[in-house]
């Protein structure tokens, strides 16, 4: 090397700390082989059907009903989780009471509990002879084996998302703005409704979107309590499994693509929400 060590920009592969090529190389290798290639398979498979075939595969009444059920119920569950998630986050952040730590830890239960366990527990609980189901039978309300069961299960697994997204934002909010509202004559309810809630909107929406995304794709907690009756109480993931068992790979992949596309849209929406939230701050 000459004393005038000119460095060509292209050869700028030197780094101060060691291990760049090794760590990045391994990371990319892992991701490509385990994630990207299989996902590629998912997106290529339906192409074999051609555009018409693809459209036909996903617009049968059964498929449409399953998609409607998965997306519609997840949406409703996300709303319920947002409302109660806000209440729970409020209680956990603003109130003081014994056992708060325990209550806080319990919120993560749907995260920590394997989905199959939650599935059979919810199913048994809301079945006509279950603890809760039996209480509702006299009123003609059936939860298990109906779309209502799907709603209950999705609400169950979505709750941690709404609570956990709101908690840090709420605690960071500080009391100043509420104090100002009080000095201006607002009641507590008015303050919460007109001042606090609007400021929390991005976080609430983010939590709701995450709960929604989780509900759409969820399988284990739902299939036991749902009736799994085609076109009535059959969720989209179950339909994928059924088609696989019938060796209809292309059909299964078609539904999978739709769900993946929906996930992608959700991811973009979430990122958009978060940058909107960051700008407001």
């Amino acid at each position: 090397m000459s004393a005038i060590g000119l460095r060509f920009p292209l050869l700028k592969s030197r780094h101060v700390l060691p291990g760049f090529s090794l760590s990045l190389g391994f990371t990319l290798f892992y991701l490509t082989s385990l994630v990207l290639i299989p996902l590629l398979a998912l997106m290529i498979r339906p192409l074999a059907l051609g555009f018409d075939g693809f459209w036909a595969a996903i617009s049968t009444p059964r498929v449409l009903a399953a998609l409607r059920l998965s997306f519609g119920t997840a949406f409703a569950a996300a709303i319920i989780d947002s409302v109660f998630g806000f209440i729970i986050a409020w209680v956990l952040v603003r109130y003081r009471f014994p056992g708060k730590g325990l209550l806080d830890a319990v919120i993560d239960l749907p995260f920590a509990l394997p989905t199959a366990v939650a599935g059979i527990a919810l199913s048994t609980l809301y079945a006509p002879n279950g603890w809760i189901g039996s209480l509702l039978v006299p009123y003609g309300i059936r939860i298990a084996y109906t779309p209502w069961g799907v709603l209950v299960a999705m609400t169950f697994i979505g709750l941690p998302f709404t609570v956990r997204t709101l908690q840090p934002v709420l605690s960071e909010l500080g009391l100043d703005i509420e104090e100002v509202a009080a000095t201006l004559g607002a009641t507590r309810v008015q303050t919460i409704g007109r001042v606090v809630l609007p400021m929390l909107m991005p976080a609430i929406l983010t939590g709701a979107a995450m709960a929604f995304a989780r509900g759409v794709g969820e399988y284990g907690s739902i299939i036991f309590i749902a009736g799994n009756i085609p076109a009535v109480s059959e969720i989209a993931p179950l339909l994928i499994v059924t088609k696989l068992e019938q060796y209809d790979y292309a059909g299964a992949a078609a539904i999978g693509v739709v769900m993946l596309a929906a996930s992608f849209v959700m991811l973009l929406a979430l990122n958009g929400l978060q940058s909107w939230a960051a700008k407001r701050r």
Binding site: A3, I4, G5, R7, P9, R14, V16
Partner: protein, 239 residues
């Protein structure tokens, strides 16, 4: 065995941090890189330490093509502005680190390492603090540990990045006197970066005044003060 820096340049994106900086320092000299923020002094120091790569130019030291060597092998002790002490290690472990990571055949024995650590703690005037953790030390004490750690590897060159930046005036004065004393004792070529001209002039043999990535003037403190070469230099020294 002088240090020859020749036309070193570096760009960050489109911003030219260094634009052809050159100077020559004698073996064992104490050089200060002085200038306002953005002048490129820290960039130059980091290039000397192997923590940045120059886009062009060369550095020769101890008959070596300095810039071709990775930081690990340069044996240039570096003292960071925020000290960068290993917070999970005691003071003694911090200082001993450079000795412990040497390959087996070059590693001193445990008792030698302990002896050296004690020596260095005495040198930086922190006797007895070997079992403390960085979080238990004051800023000035942490700075001394950082210097001791850099000296432990018997460096060819000692590089300090605004070493007294975060400390109050009294501590700064003490520490810079100590730094000079340590330098004279160890005889190691020392380059330190500062924006404080009083500090630079009080302690360095040679001062390089930087502006916009170039060295505007370089010389003994007295010379630079008496004969400022450019308007910038005289204005900078007047403040």
């Amino acid at each position: 065995m002088s240090l020859t820096v020749d036309s070193v340049s570096k760009k960050f994106g489109r911003f030219p941090a260094l634009n052809g900086a050159s100077f020559v320092a004698p073996q064992g000299g104490f050089i200060s890189l002085l200038g306002p923020s953005g002048s490129g002094k820290t960039t130059l120091l980091r290039i000397l330490g192997g923590l940045e790569f120059a886009d062009s130019g060369s550095v020769r030291f101890a008959d070596l093509n300095w810039l071709d060597m990775p930081a690990r092998t340069r044996n240039a002790g570096f003292v960071f502005q925020q000290y960068a002490l290993f917070k999970h290690m005691t003071v003694a472990d911090n200082i001993a680190f450079g000795l412990r990571v040497r390959p087996r055949n070059k590693r001193p024995s445990n008792s030698d390492i302990q002896h050296r650590v004690k020596e260095l703690l005495d040198l930086v005037q922190l006797p007895g603090l070997d079992k403390r953790y960085p979080s238990q030390l004051s800023g000035g004490q942490r700075q001394r540990v950082a210097v001791a750690r850099a000296l432990a590897i018997e460096p060819r060159m000692l590089l300090l990045d605004e070493p007294f930046g975060a400390l109050d005036a009294k501590v700064r004065k003490e520490l810079r006197a100590d730094l000079r004393r340590i330098h004279d004792h160890a005889g190691v070529t020392t380059v330190f970066v500062t924006h404080d001209q009083e500090e630079a002039f009080a302690v360095a043999d040679l001062v390089a005044v930087l502006k916009d990535g170039r060295i505007e003037q370089y010389g003994a403190p007295a010379d630079v003060r008496r004969n400022p070469k450019t308007a910038f230099v005289s204005e900078f020294l007047a403040t």
